[in-house]
């Protein structure tokens, strides 16, 4: 019985396969065409128009060089202790206009996370982007450090407008709350070491051990200056 059923299934399968072969061949051909079209589209994404025909212009080092330039620009704009924070931790913490009652964590290409520094309670995520629709090299994304600088400028210059433009979500929508809490712990540790370095009167290069006295002076002045993003 079982043998008969198995044989019948095999025969049926072979029959269906034989009958369906032309369709399968046609389907495989269409799939190949789609794959080659998709590949052509991907190649086009790495090209740009230069006054005429598109030419292949993919440069694997471009993003790295762009990020290096962006880091220099960020460094030249933010306070020295903020730069040290970004360099060492990969994000920036800035206080809101209302002083130290709440603060923001600025991550590159991630939502801005607001929290209460006194308790560590997370408040909201503000999803905001700075897309350059001209897509000069195929992408609308600014380098990481430029994205951070754009958020820093927008918060410093017009916090309410930026927050109004952003899409607000509860914590955890895009940024893992556990990660944020770990980052807050890292930040607290970093600040303690930073303060100790300041107290010792040597450089704030607490991570790599370099000395930078101007950084120390600037950071000390900054702490004295109440530390909000912009004087209200």
């Amino acid at each position: 019985m079982l043998l008969g059923l198995t044989t019948a299934l095999l025969v049926l399968g072979a029959l269906v396969g034989e009958l369906g072969r032309p369709r399968m061949t046609a389907w495989a051909g269409r799939l190949r065409e789609r794959v080659s079209e998709r590949r052509a589209l991907l190649v086009r994404d790495f090209t740009r128009v230069r006054g005429g025909p598109r030419e292949l212009d993919y440069d694997p080092g471009r993003e790295r060089r762009a990020e290096q330039r962006a880091r220099e620009l960020l460094r030249s704009c933010v306070n020295e202790s903020e730069w040290a924070m970004y360099r060492d931790l990969g994000f920036l913490r800035v206080y809101g206009r209302a002083g130290e009652r709440y603060a923001y964590l600025i991550y590159p290409h991630k939502p801005i996370v607001s929290y209460v520094p006194r308790t560590g309670a997370l408040l909201s995520e503000y999803c905001v982007a700075f897309p350059d629709h001209s897509r000069p090299y195929g992408s609308a994304r600014l380098p990481d450090s430029d994205d951070v600088l754009a958020k820093w400028i927008a918060l410093a210059a017009d916090e309410h407008r930026l927050i109004a433009d952003a899409n607000m979500h509860l914590p955890g929508r895009q940024v893992d709350p556990q990660r944020v809490r770990r980052d807050l712990q890292r930040l607290a540790r970093w600040e303690r070491e930073h303060d100790r370095a300041l107290a010792r009167g040597r450089g704030s290069e607490v991570v790599d051990g370099e000395t930078d006295r101007s950084t120390v002076r600037s950071a000390a002045q900054e702490r004295l200056g109440a530390g909000n993003v912009r004087a209200a």
Partner: protein, 83 residues
């Protein structure tokens, strides 16, 4: 004064540089400034308080740029991210 623009895949580029006290150079700076605003960019001037604290302010016209500003940075307008 330098007009800089953040650019994807490149970092900042210098759009124009000139002395605002020289009429011809000021005109070139104003023209470049307007082009960027017309293209939908935001313009910001990095500033420093007397206490040495660094800040920034957004400007909507060249007239709002302090005459002694060293740089104006253009960057794409903010848009709400993923919903």
């Amino acid at each position: 004064m330098k007009l800089l623009r953040m650019k994807p895949g490149h970092g900042e580029i210098m759009l124009a540089e000139g002395d605002v006290e020289v009429a011809e150079e000021e005109r070139a700076l104003i023209a470049a400034f307007r082009r960027e605003l017309d293209a939908g960019m935001w313009a910001a001037v990095p500033t420093e308080t007397t206490g040495g604290r660094r800040e920034a302010e957004l400007v909507k016209s060249f007239a709002e740029v302090p005459r002694d500003a060293e740089r104006v940075i253009f960057f794409p307008r903010a848009a709400g991210g993923s919903r």
